[in-house]
């Protein structure tokens, strides 16, 4: 009986932890942030779609900090400071990640120049 009440209590507590925030705007901000944070134990998934306990803990932390008035970017940075850039699906544009952001532009530029040169030169 005691065991059952502990299980029930745990279920109620976890249900409470997963409850959406009362302010719809804050809940939307939290949900948006869930989408771009990686679940670190099931790495292909975001914490929005993962059932892992760590993901649930991270969702609770995000909701708590956003409810406390913290900006979503600051909450993300808080997690990046602890887990590194890998925790987010949108790598910050600095360091080696700059290659990711610059490469498409660079490749289109090189391709464009090559194409221009080919079209300009009349076939001999």
């Amino acid at each position: 009986m005691k065991r059952l009440s502990i299980i029930l209590l745990a279920m109620m507590m976890s249900a409470f932890a997963e409850a959406p925030l009362p302010d719809p705007a804050e809940e939307r901000a939290a949900q948006a942030l869930f989408q771009e944070l990686r679940c670190l134990v099931c790495q292909g998934q975001s914490i929005a779609e993962s059932d892992a306990e760590l993901a649930a803990d991270m969702r609770a932390l995000v909701r708590e900090r956003i409810a406390a008035g913290e900006a979503p970017l600051d909450v993300r940075n808080y997690l990046v400071r602890r887990y590194g850039d890998w925790v987010t699906f949108s790598p910050p544009a600095r360091g080696t990640h700059l290659i990711l952001w610059a490469a498409p532009l660079l490749l289109v530029l090189i391709g464009g120049i090559a194409a221009l040169r080919m079209f300009r030169r009349p076939a001999s």
Binding site: L40, E53, L54, D57, Y83, G84, A114, M118, R121
Partner: protein, 176 residues
């Protein structure tokens, strides 16, 4: 000649890109996530204790000038049982080991200590798993080396294997 270069260079870049992409796809997706907290001062925290013999753990307990190990464990975690003899050996060697019990209850922790031994000085109860995130840990067990100033120096992910005990002892000695 110039024309040939303008063709070859983009083609070479494209081929490199394709090779990198194919190799990347074949690599296993999962990788251990190491904490970004190594080299950082431990964040402020204050956890309630597990029992009379193991009082709670706070950030100030890790800034007392002695090197400590902080072991994240759970009574529900099987590898934590397996590493118990290794933790006992480290404690016997005079190393202070504190624990953080992740998503656990004092009753279950008491039963765990009864069965597998208690090498811990302090045990902080972390019902919400918040300290895992604070330390950049992804699971249990994980063991962190914290120097006397409260700076995280090293992290061991997963159960401590028998052959790692000497390595950990050396790391503790080096951090002192």
């Amino acid at each position: 000649m110039m024309r040939r270069i303008t063709l070859i260079v983009p083609l070479a870049i494209f081929v490199t890109f394709v090779i990198v992409a194919i190799l990347g796809l074949q690599r296993p997706g999962e990788r251990p996530v190491t904490s970004a907290m190594i080299g950082e001062t431990i964040p402020d925290f204050d956890l309630p204790g597990a029992n009379a013999a193991n009082p709670g753990l706070a950030a100030s307990d890790l800034k007392q000038g002695t090197v400590t190990l902080v072991n994240l464990f759970g009574s529900w975690c099987i590898p934590c049982r397996i590493e118990a003899p290794e933790l006992a050996r480290l404690a016997d060697a005079g190393i202070t080991i504190h624990a953080i019990a992740v998503r656990d209850t004092p009753e279950n922790v008491a039963a765990f200590l009864e069965e597998y031994g208690d090498p811990f000085a302090r045990i902080g109860m972390d019902a919400g798993g918040r300290m895992s995130i604070e330390l950049g840990a992804t699971g249990v067990p994980e063991t962190f080396l914290v120097d006397g100033d409260g700076v995280v120096r090293a992290q061991w992910i997963g159960q401590i294997r028998p052959d790692q005990v000497d390595e950990i002892r050396a790391a503790v000695a080096a951090a002192g």
